[in-house]
């Protein structure tokens, strides 16, 4: 493979979808296919979109509570609640649901991102009645059986350990924990070895009762069907869901890190260092988001970005270097991510900082702006190609209060980005001084050399449970 940064992206599935939905653009001739929005009597927002090509239907719900809603000490509760939906309903056992789903070749995923939970199912158009029955059953009537909850939680705890055997896959959990601390965005979305042990089936049932309600849910359906016919069937299936008042707590505001800090996660057998550098970024509805998208494309968002050119193409320090803004309800993280062998750890990080300093000092050129705009426009259409992508796009727009213009007007918005706007967003949104560093690597080999990056340093072992720095280590 020529580009191998897919894994870290995959971990950000939910977040990444949001980024795509909010910031990319396409040619003026392109627009989101027409779709219909209906609010049922019980408060459920229903979005319907016809999409032809393959005989599949995708149902994608957003429940407006995610990992940020996890109570302190019970991180992973939103994910556990989502994971248990299919593990038994009032009329089906977990095994029966699996048998019924697999029989029609259906796919089902339920996962918690920071801002919301998504519950997604896909099946053939000809199996619509069966698929809808299965989907409505798990969304409306989950039973959270004791035995299944115990099994699930035991697996999730081991799952965290398995993930730690692949440093890339846990980098964002360490980074978010270090950057946000006790703010809800510091929660590891899947929980950790300590918090998952605190969760009981009753907690999941309570999280469900508190957050899963028609008025707190957006349900998007896209695929090959007749929308009018579909509306009647969906209204019937979900109209029966009893409405309930929901008091979701708003996610508190975010304060950027005001000092340089470095967390070194020791993996004693590592032959390369994985590093993430940055600070807080922007919210999904930030008015500067299009200009930021353009500048980030130039800086670290594509193969010929400044970062990848410097760290891979010119120096051979790494297989890949990238940067991204994870855009959420309130400002999500901004991250520069790469990895390099132990011996070149400080040269690679020094070079990263130089590229960032150059962005601040020299800005971007007219040619770069033009190229980045073309790139964003050219690469956008495959992001809204499938029913699944379309369902998730319109649902996330609805969640973040963004309209179809997010897609339909983007070419115009991209064209409007001037060098002056680029200069302003660099100054305002790309951190320069108070950087946060998270390194996963062999401490005995790199520890002394990386001390120069921050006066405040924390260390921990990769195998230590959890993702936050142990309170005892504190500042050095």
């Amino acid at each position: 493979m020529r580009r191998g940064l897919r894994r870290i992206r995959r971990l950000l599935t939910v977040a990444a979808m949001v980024v795509l939905a909010c910031t990319v653009s396409l040619a003026q001739t392109l627009h989101l296919p027409p779709h219909e929005r209906v609010v049922l009597k019980n408060g459920l927002t229903l979005l319907l979109l016809e999409k032809r090509g393959v005989p599949l239907v995708n149902i994608s719900a957003i429940v407006k509570a995610g990992a940020a809603a996890d109570p302190a000490g019970e991180e992973g509760l939103a994910a556990t609640t989502a994971g248990l939906l299919r593990k038994g309903t009032k009329k089906r056992s977990a095994q029966q649901f699996a048998a019924d789903l697999d029989y029609i070749g259906g796919e089902f995923e339920a996962e918690a991102g920071p801002d919301f939970t998504t519950i997604n199912m896909e099946f053939q158009t000809k199996d619509f009645a069966r698929g809808l029955d299965l989907y409505a059953d798990v969304l409306i009537h989950p039973a959270f059986p004791q035995q299944e909850a115990e099994k699930f939680l035991a697996q999730e705890i081991d799952g965290v350990k398995a993930a730690k055997d692949d440093p890339q896959s846990v980098m964002m959990s360490y980074y978010s924990g270090y950057l946000y601390g006790m703010h809800p965005y510091g929660h590891p979305p899947a929980g950790d070895e300590i918090s998952l042990k605190q969760i009981r089936r009753e907690d999941a049932a309570k999280f469900y009762a508190t957050n899963y309600a028609p008025g707190n849910t957006i349900l998007a359906v896209a695929g090959e069907f007749n929308a009018a016919e579909m509306k009647a069937k969906l209204s019937e299936a979900f109209g029966a869901w009893e409405s309930r008042a929901v008091n979701s707590a708003a996610i508190p505001g975010v304060v950027p890190s005001k000092e340089k800090r470095l967390l070194l996660v020791d993996k004693p057998d590592a032959s390369q260092t994985y590093f993430a550098i940055g600070n807080t970024g922007i919210a999904a509805n930030d008015p500067d988001r299009v200009a930021i998208r353009v500048v980030n494309t130039i800086f670290g968002g594509r193969f010929t970005s400044e970062l990848n050119e410097a760290l891979r193409v010119e120096s051979g320090y790494t297989y890949g270097a990238q940067s991204f803004f994870d855009q959420r309800k309130v400002p999500g993280p901004f991250v520069i991510f790469s990895f390099t062998k132990n011996e070149t750890t400080t040269p690679a990080i020094d070079l990263t900082l130089q590229v960032l300093a150059k962005l601040h000092k020299e800005g971007v050129t007219q040619d770069q702006l033009k190229s980045a705009k073309s790139y964003i426009k050219g690469q956008f259409p495959p992001n809204i190609e499938t029913s699944r992508q379309l369902a998730r796009t319109i649902a996330t727009h609805e969640f973040y209060g963004l309209g179809d213009d997010e897609v339909n007007e983007l070419e115009a918005r991209l064209d409007a980005v001037t060098p002056e706007m680029a200069r302003q967003v660099i100054q305002k949104h790309f951190p320069a001084e108070n950087l946060l560093f998270v390194l996963i690597g062999k401490a005995s080999a790199i520890g002394p050399a990386v001390q120069k990056y921050a006066a405040n340093q924390d260390t921990r072992l990769l195998s230590d449970p959890g993702f936050w720095p142990a309170p005892a280590t504190g500042k050095k």
């Binding site: 191998g4 999409k51 599949l56 699996a98 070749g105 053939q124 350990k161 010929t304 010119e314 062998k341």
Partner: protein
């Protein structure tokens, strides 16, 4: 060209009411073989104003030898590092400035180049592709820095990844004669020692137009693609294709076992079984068997290891397309405190159960339904379609076989499934690889 194409939609609506499996009629492919021997396949789809262009070269790590393992993959990287018209760095810069992106992948059998771009960039892409097929340049500086990039890729995907380490050892142990024994990315010492001569020889050997198949899917007509091919590709001269790989892996006559000791949180288990190549008549029965055993939470292995016995977090199987006899790989992630041998025992018992007793009608139907939906999932994007059409043409000998898959899966009987379970998933035909955490006290029962 905009999104209007989808909403015309009449064609698809008609098909839907017909109720059959979609195939050649709906996803019509046009084929032409150029004078220099390159076969070109085109499937037009105006749903999005983009095009996916794939070039499959029939050269991979099976065409390498000890000392230069990983060369095909390294070469894949070098194909982006400068030719005559588009010098070092130009290919990516020009492509991205015109809205395009690219990637590539290398397997044991093939090297595949992928371009994704708006239709306005069509002739530019042809200009770039013809430049590098005809006149690739080897800049010593680029060879040096790219060698470091590939070493980093190896550290990422193998050395610091337990699955990568164990998989590499499994193939190296399961194969003793055939070139499938070495890793696609190459051994680190080979990565450090390829010479410029090795690279040039590899280009000569593998990159002749008659050793390649081009697949184009998306917002372009067959006529315009064939015209572009006449201009840009057809004049490129042919040269002899790589020599045939004649080594045949001798039958395995007894279980092989290996252990990797490594610092890790959890152990890992992989079991490999030799099976025939993709164009074998047992291919479809093997996949139905794998579906019944491994796919979905109602599958037999999931029910047994994850749900009932609760000894594994995950149990999966893999079978990649191949020219030569290959392996079905079974991967189990044992839970903490579980001896990997407990997972082994359960896996063997489940294989045995298929071989000795009948599977149910429902299980067989379920497997066929899953395979059909999988076909549609491959067909739902221009990218997936380009890759799938090319894979069928190259590994199954004819892209039309893609449209026969539903029929071929339909034809699989319970007896076929029972037979392949018995023939291939035998103790003497397996290689067992176990990763044991070095800090192993925690992982032992």
């Amino acid at each position: 060209m905009g999104f209007g194409g989808i909403w015309a939609g009449v064609l698809c609506a008609t098909l839907l009411s017909a109720g059959g499996v979609r195939g050649q009629a709906e996803y019509a492919v046009s084929a032409r073989t150029l004078k220099n021997g390159m076969k070109v396949l085109v499937q037009t789809d105006h749903s999005i104003p983009n095009v996916a262009l794939y070039i499959f070269y029939r050269i991979g790590s099976r065409n390498e030898r000890p000392g230069t393992t990983g060369l095909s993959h390294f070469f894949e990287h070098m194909m982006f590092n400068g030719a005559k018209k588009y010098g070092p760095g130009d290919l990516d810069k020009v492509m991205e400035a015109n809205g395009g992106a690219n990637n590539a992948y290398t397997t044991r059998d093939v090297t595949v180049y992928q371009d994704w771009f708006p239709r306005a960039a069509l002739s530019l892409i042809y200009d770039i592709e013809s430049d590098r097929i005809r006149d690739l340049n080897f800049d010593p500086q680029k060879v040096k820095s790219e060698r470091e990039v590939v070493a980093s890729e190896r550290r990422l995907s193998v050395d610091n990844e337990n699955g990568g380490v164990l998989d590499e050892q499994l193939w190296a142990t399961s194969y003793i004669a055939h070139p499938y024994q070495w890793p696609v990315i190459g051994w680190m010492s080979d990565i450090e020692h390829w010479t410029m001569e090795d690279l040039k020889h590899h280009f000569e050997m593998g990159y002749s137009p008659n050793n390649a198949t081009m697949v184009v899917v998306g917002d372009a007509t067959a006529d315009e693609i064939f015209r572009l091919c006449e201009t840009y590709i057809e004049p490129i001269p042919t040269h002899p294709p790589p020599p045939a790989v004649t080594t045949v892996e001798p039958p395995q006559t007894g279980e092989r076992r290996l252990i990797v000791h490594k610092r890790a949180e959890l152990p890992l288990l992989m079991v490999g079984y030799h099976v025939p190549q993709s164009n074998s008549s047992d291919f479809y029965a093997l996949n139905i068997l794998r579906t019944i055993l491994f796919q979905g939470e109602s599958s037999r292995m999931y029910q047994r290891l994850v749900d009932k016995d609760q000894i594994a977090l995950e149990v999966t199987s893999g079978l990649e397309p191949s020219f030569d006899p290959t392996m079905v790989e079974v991967v189990a992630q044992p839970k903490q405190g579980v001896d990997p041998q407990a997972c082994e025992k359960a896996i063997y018992e489940e294989f045995e159960r298929v071989g000795s007793a009948a599977i149910s009608d429902t299980e067989l139907e379920k497997a066929k339904n899953i395979r059909l939906v999988e076909f549609y999932r491959q067909m739902r994007t221009i990218n997936g379609r380009a890759n799938t059409i090319g894979t069928y043409e190259v590994f199954f000998g004819d892209y039309n076989k893609l449209f026969e898959t539903a029929k071929n899966y339909s034809a699989v009987t319970k007896e076929d499934v029972r037979r392949v379970a018995k023939v291939y998933f035998d103790a003497n035909n397996r290689t067992v690889a176990t990763l044991l955490p070095e800090n192993a006290e925690k992982a032992k029962p």
